[in-house]
């Protein structure tokens, strides 16, 4: 299970090289996303898509809010 993290935690982990992944659909990502985030829509989240991530670095996933 992913560990919940708040805004300050995101900023701290980004400084340490964490990877940001927005799991919303592509159009929403293109409109607005966190700096440096990549897009892997939830429906496309599989081993192949995850292969673009560095397993040695923390991964932060997010969407719009709690949903």
């Amino acid at each position: 299970m992913p560990t919940p993290i708040d805004r300050a935690g995101v900023q701290r982990l980004r400084e340490q090289g964490a990877q940001l992944v927005e799991v919303l659909p592509r159009p929403e990502y293109e409109q607005e996303h966190l700096p440096g985030a990549i897009n892997i829509p939830l429906k496309e989240l599989n081993r192949e898509a995850a292969a673009q991530l560095d397993r040695s670095r923390p991964v932060i996933v997010y969407c719009n809010d709690y949903q």
Partner: protein, 146 residues
């Protein structure tokens, strides 16, 4: 999938945008209140005397002051009239409580529309948890619209 360090930013993009932090994407091309907010707006605390605050505010070239607590959460505002009060009155007694605020993510057009509707020339810009980002002025927003 074999990842050892996975975190869930539960509050997500909405929380990030409302805090005034940088964003990327096509929708961020329009300037927002966070981009326009003047970060140097003076602040003061509830217990300060008006005379000392007024001196500080005017020395900084302002005629208004945002009242905040020790976590930078907005509590009130001293406007032009209030700040001219007696020297020994406390900020708490002189301020207007709970001023209207806007989030940093509101676009400049929507911001100008809201200011005109409410006949206001400025808004404190605050994060979703009430912390002060700065003060956005109608003149700055109108200038940006061109």
């Amino acid at each position: 999938m074999g990842f050892e360090q996975v975190y869930d930013y539960e509050h997500g993009k909405r929380d990030w945008g409302s805090s005034g932090l940088p964003r990327e994407g096509t929708a961020t091309d329009e300037p927002s209140a966070g981009d326009l907010a003047r970060r140097d707006v003076p602040t003061c605390g509830l217990d300060e005397d008006l005379g000392a605050v007024r001196e500080r505010v005017r020395a900084a070239g302002w005629d208004t002051c945002i009242v905040v607590n020790d976590r930078n959460v907005v509590l009130g505002r001293l406007g032009r009239r209030a700040i001219r009060g007696d020297d020994d009155v406390t900020v708490e007694d002189a301020m207007r409580e709970g001023p209207s605020t806007v989030r940093p993510s509101i676009g400049v057009q929507a911001l100008v529309d809201r200011m005109r509707e409410n006949d206001l020339t400025s808004y404190p810009v605050t994060t979703s948890d009430g912390r002060l980002v700065g003060l956005v002025l109608l003149e700055d927003a109108e200038r940006r619209l061109g």
